[in-house]
């Protein structure tokens, strides 16, 4: 009996060590490596490269800021509008909006750029085929539009989440006192959404700065810092310059990170409810405005996905498009083993991420271990740091002894796992907070150890959260590009990277096919897990 207790104690300590060490080694250490690479040359402090960049390439900074500010403004305004439209809408419209948000969430990030080329490129369906123009539509506005379109869904999800935390009685009270829909939106909804607006604007800003795929695909001659870092790495193999640019990109990210951490603590207080229907009547000028903005957004998304679908199933002969499955056959050559690899990586990252997230939640919220706050802080950082920053960090950190991970599958899996960890740890913390101290104390009261609490209470009670966490990480890994693009060796490509490559080399039809395949896989997994979740909930009640 005593032995078992002793073993359980050791196991507990072992788990704690794994968490502490893995987060410090696989998140903090790579970040520090990038800083070191950027600011030290041959072991001594040297910021010449940084100075050089700031003096000679200040235009890139300007370009990045221009794009980021515009994308932030557009996607924040549209996301808030769609969120409010969602609030006023009935169940059916809400379902459609949910579906659209889900569809974009499970698509690779540069699907928007691909459809932009399909529609407005040199041989674009709208510009060339309908209007007979051969335009150069590559440039800043293309980037801004496509980035915004890509960010809107994610932002909108945050907005509807915040809206569901508003007590419906607040809105009823306002109406009761004579406020019409316009007044309720102006006086109640928007002021209550202010912290959310700040969060989504800041996150969009940072993501836009870090995004190199959109400018790389549709930027044409228009370069940003992110593309420059990407090119430094891929075309010139200049890791110091790439590090320097990423360090510059890191500064706003850090700033956003601090505000994000502060706000997230404030917003977790209220419980989310399902938004009531018919909470506001569908009239008034503000309602009309958000309605039209939302309809335009929905229209764009529909066009976007139709264009990918059409492009996957058609080919052009003498300027005329015809239906064919040839694209699928052609795609086979590019993806022989990639999809299996993508799925396996995503499964590993999904399962390990979910477990690690719950463990962080348990040791942080229930055990309240020392330094756990710091560990959680570090674990959340990948949420805002640029993907390429994280990727370069991994190259620098794990190339030498004792790791020697360069070019292995392990480094890729570790990278995606820790890049997605912020989602998982957030869900894990929520799960831990749902468990009452009475339940935990009962285990101990009946003779259980801390390890028994974890095994018999925390893990079984967090099953739903584990599922959600898994589906999240799986999807994120299936669609990621940024952090792993420098880590994957040519023979070991994953689906998103192949898609990125074929689009860059102009094979848009093949790109569309791969996009559809990725979407199908993530959709299947998400629907599967949603069904499991629903069944579990039915069984419980």
């Amino acid at each position: 009996m005593k032995n078992i207790k002793y073993i359980k104690k050791i196991l507990d300590k072992l788990l704690i060590s794994i968490i502490y060490i893995s987060i410090l080694v696989f998140i903090l250490y790579p970040i520090l490596c990038v800083f070191y690479q950027a600011m030290f040359i041959d072991g001594s402090f040297n910021v010449n490269v940084l100075n050089d960049f700031l003096i000679n390439d200040i235009k890139l900074l300007g370009n990045s800021l221009k794009v980021a500010i515009l994308s932030t403004i557009i996607s924040t305004i549209v996301a808030i509008s769609v969120g409010i439209f969602y609030l006023v809408s009935n169940k059916r419209t809400r379902k459609i909006i949910n579906l659209i948000m889900m569809l974009t969430m499970i698509s690779p990030p540069f699907v928007t750029s691909l459809s932009y080329i399909n529609l407005f490129g040199r041989r674009g369906f709208i510009t060339h085929d309908i209007f007979g123009l051969t335009l150069n539509t590559y440039g800043m506005w293309g980037i801004v539009l496509m980035q915004s379109l890509g960010f809107i869904s994610l932002n909108c999800l945050v907005v509807t989440g915040s809206l569901s935390r508003i007590n419906s009685k607040i809105i009823y009270s306002a109406r009761d006192l004579g406020a019409d829909t316009t007044s309720v939106i102006k006086d109640i909804v928007i002021p209550l959404l202010r912290p959310t607006m700040l969060i989504i604007a800041l996150l969009t800003f940072v993501r836009s700065l870090a995004d190199f795929t959109t400018p790389a695909i549709i930027g044409g001659n228009f370069n940003t810092m992110a593309t420059e870092a990407y090119l430094s790495m891929v075309a010139y193999g200049d890791i110091t310059r790439a590090s320097v640019i990423n360090v510059v990109l890191f500064i706003p990210a850090l700033f956003v990170f601090i505000i994000y951490r502060k706000n997230i603590q404030n917003t977790n207080m209220n419980e989310a409810n399902e938004l009531e229907e018919d909470i506001l009547s569908k009239n008034g000028i503000l309602y009309q405005i958000v309605k039209y903005i939302s309809l335009i957004f929905i229209f764009f998304i529909i066009i976007q996905y139709s264009s990918i679908f059409i492009s996957a199933f058609t080919k052009k002969r003498m300027g005329i498009s015809y239906f064919t499955l040839k694209n699928f056959i052609e795609t086979k050559a590019y993806i022989s083993k990639t999809f299996m690899r993508s799925i396996v990586y995503s499964l590993i990252s999904g399962i390990c991420g979910a477990l690690l997230g719950i463990l962080i939640g348990y040791y942080l919220e229930i055990r309240k271990l020392r330094f756990m706050d710091f560990i959680d802080l570090v674990a959340t950082m990948p949420y805002v740091i640029p993907g390429s920053f994280f990727g370069i960090g991994y190259i620098l950190a794990f190339k030498g002894a004792p790791f020697f991970l360069t070019g292995t599958a392990t480094i890729v899996v570790l990278n995606v796992l820790f890049k997605q960890l912020p989602f998982s740890s957030k869900i894990g913390i929520e799960a831990a907070n749902q468990i009452s101290y009475e339940t935990i104390n009962s285990v101990k009261d009946l003779g259980g150890t801390d390890f028994d609490v974890l095994k018999d209470v925390v893990l079984p009670m967090s099953k739903n959260n584990l599922f959600i966490s898994f589906a999240n990480s799986f999807t994120a890994t299936m669609t990621t590009v940024g952090s792993i693009i420098f880590l994957v060796y040519p023979g070991q490509k994953v689906a998103t990277l192949v898609m990125f490559d074929v689009i860059q080399s102009g094979k848009y039809n093949v790109g569309s096919v791969i996009a559809i395949l990725i979407i199908l896989i993530t959709m299947t997994v998400n629907i599967l897990f949603y069904k499991v979740l629903i069944r579990r909930e039915v069984n419980v009640s």
Partner: protein
């Protein structure tokens, strides 16, 4: 009648939650809707406030048919159970919010608001946020906000249920006092019969979406018209064999009474509740004030029971 509701019916997914309910309230009267949870009382309130559309029925307030008016156009104010205060606005901004929709300028509105806050004993709290107030104070802000636009009808949805027992008593009499002062027609929803009895001019008892009894409080207690009224209100002894019932206070110790045995007794502070066994095997309960000379379990006592017949009740 100042407020007249006729044939109000509301269904959710084919489940009838309010079934063909008609009633009226005189001007300045306080009506309490009383009933167990799920009886439809809150739905009636929502229908009156304009937050749910009834499937059938009519609502006439001060001679105007408001059945199809949206919430914002009804001269009706609701104080919600969770108050629904605007968390991002100060107390005074909460209170005067409704005034801007009837065209009152900010300066004038503030004056009215401060007057109103005085009436609910909240002077000096104007610039605080709702989250800085206690539950009782938040409740007062909600009442002040509801009254400031001088509505014709005030609706209170279990307004005291989030407060502790002592504060509940205090606010109950405050609400009654304010209601009298403003002479405002009020509907007060509760599941607490003591609350209903102490505050209401009239009580409407509901169960499963139906109106069970509509009467003055004393009448509801003393002359229940249905088995449900009898059961739900107060405590009661049944003698099924002889089809009769008695309230606990209709049983009293008296030497001329029937001999019974004390089966159990429980001490409740001001009163003691006894369970007695009659010679024909019926158990009955009674209460007596906590004065000297309590009986012990097993002791023989004499008591008189005033029975009423059960068959005059519906159902």
């Amino acid at each position: 009648m100042f407020l007249e509701i006729s044939n109000l019916t509301k269904k959710y997914n084919n489940k009838t939650v309010v079934s063909n309910v008609s009633f009226g309230v005189e001007e300045g009267e306080l009506l309490t809707i009383l009933g167990p949870s799920g009886c439809g009382k809150t739905t009636i309130l929502k229908a009156l406030g304009g937050f749910v559309k009834s499937d059938d029925g009519k609502v006439i307030l001060d001679g105007i048919d408001i059945t199809d008016f949206p919430a914002e156009e009804r001269p009706v104010s609701t104080v919600f159970q969770s108050y629904g205060l605007f968390p991002h606005m100060s107390v005074i901004d909460n209170v005067i919010y409704g005034l801007k929709f009837i065209g009152i300028k900010r300066k004038e509105a503030e004056k009215i608001g401060i007057e109103m806050l005085k009436k609910v004993h909240l002077q000096g709290e104007e610039n605080k946020r709702p989250s800085q107030l206690s539950g009782g104070q938040q409740q007062r802000v909600a009442v002040a906000r509801g009254l400031v636009t001088r509505p014709k009808l005030l609706l209170l949805d279990e307004p005291l249920s989030n407060l502790d027992a002592k504060l509940r008593l205090e606010l109950r009499s405050e609400i009654k006092a304010i209601q009298r002062e403003f002479n405002i027609t009020t509907i007060f929803v509760t599941h607490d019969q003591e609350e209903a009895f102490s505050i209401a001019d009239k009580i409407m008892l509901m169960n499963k979406g139906e109106l069970i009894q509509f009467s003055r409080p004393r009448e509801l207690y003393e002359n229940p018209t249905t088995k449900f009224s009898l059961d739900f209100i107060g405590s009661v002894n049944y003698d099924e064999k002889n089809s009769r019932f008695s309230r606990l206070e209709d049983v009293y110790f008296d030497d001329k009474g029937e001999e019974m045995e004390v089966l159990d007794y429980s001490f409740k502070g001001q009163i003691i509740e006894y369970t007695l066994l009659t010679s024909d095997g019926t158990t009955i309960r009674t209460v007596s004030l906590n004065r000297k000379g309590e009986f012990a379990v097993g002791e023989k006592v004499n008591a008189i029971v005033n029975w009423s017949p059960l068959d005059k009740l519906d159902k």
